[in-house]
Symmetry: C2
Subunit: 194 residues, 2 copies
DNA sequence: CGGGTTCTGGACCGATGGTTCAGAACGGGT
DNA sequence: ACCCGTTCTGAACCATCGGTCCAGAACCCG
């Protein structure tokens, strides 16, 4: 009954996510979203509510992807744990759930004015940090890490390194340089220097 | 001759910098700036041109502060080089030239839409990275660092750690936790584990 | 084929954005 | 004392913002 939708919600959300990720929340007008998604403003409002609700939904899915992505890396052979994490953190940015882009951007831009975003963002980071910590523990058990090292701190290092790389990417630093930094940084954790 | 200014340019720039740093570029209206600086909108335009010109000027000074701040840490006893860097990177945020806040924020928010900002931001990061590298070299000479370590990568680690901490601060992570992470991260660089 | 439902795109609204400008305020020079 | 140049101020301006609404086309089901 009734006229069926001409668009897939998933596609629209993906397009809107891309737009938000590129131009930020304040930098993206509803007209931009309309252009990016191919939907008229009326349809957007009918399907998702207002701009903030749309962003909240996208952000929530983004965080969920981050949570799940980190958890997924915990499964599998323990001695390859850090390799999996490394691959995830340095993968090309295809906007399919890798943490850092929208998460970092939204946090910086909106945390001071939107409590819901700030809370969710902090939770996502804690989950990510926790996964990093457990991955490092796995690596320790597999003998790939100095047992004396503080796992949480190392997890934080991976996380913050990744976030810095994200920012460097935005600043125009080329992928080769970023990968070299990432490789060396993570290797220095997985394989103690001395 | 002519009516004298009722404000000091320096004070206005500092207030505007604080405002931009807090609410971002798009998130800050000219009314906000007027309120924060105490100047009427007309005076702001008369003194600094439009909003973008004002931001560009503030950003340029911010980057210059960053450049100079990093360079300043290169002077002094070599065996305290990393201590000086650490103190600078972890100092409380008083908006007096410490890099990371406006630099990171502006890069994330504007790099994709403003070439001038992107270019200047990248240059500031390169300078900062270079200073970090030279600081690490100093520490190496003073015997405080594993000679086999890659200086640039370690500098990048410090930088990216700092930027991550900045983001964590915005996300609401308390200062004690951040300092603990920073201390351990930088100690792990300055003092090889084994 | 017709009735009920949903989608669609454009018109519309009040609010707010950045920007401009005419005139008042003021100090120094003559 | 008077003018001149500069600065300050606040109102006015117009484009655009986010948000709402509606008339009609599109579609499914009976």
């Amino acid at each position: 009954m009734g006229r069926p939708r001409k668009f897939r919600e998933q596609d629209v959300l993906a397009a809107a996510r891309r737009q938000f990720n590129e131009t930020g929340y304040h930098g993206t007008s509803v007209d931009d979203l309309s252009r990016a998604t191919g939907l008229s403003k009326g349809s957007l409002y009918g399907a998702f509510g207002d701009k903030e609700a749309l962003f909240q939904r996208i952000f929530e899915e983004y965080c969920a992807d981050s949570d799940q992505g980190a958890a997924a890396r915990l499964e599998g052979p323990e001695d390859q744990a850090l390799d999996r994490l490394r691959q995830w953190l340095t993968a090309p940015d295809d906007h399919t759930g890798r943490p850092g882009c929208l998460l970092a951007k939204a946090t910086a831009e909106l945390a001071s004015e939107n409590d819901a975003i700030a809370t969710r963002s902090l939770a996502a980071y804690e989950t990510l940090l926790d996964s990093c910590r457990r991955l490092v523990e796995q690596a320790q058990r597999a003998g790939h890490l100095d047992p004396a090292a503080d796992a949480e701190v190392l997890g934080g290092l991976i996380l913050t390194t990744h976030r810095g790389l994200e920012a460097l990417a935005k600043a125009g630093v080329d992928a080769k340089t970023r990968n070299r930094i990432a490789d060396a940084a993570i290797d220095s954790i997985a394989l103690p220097v001395c």
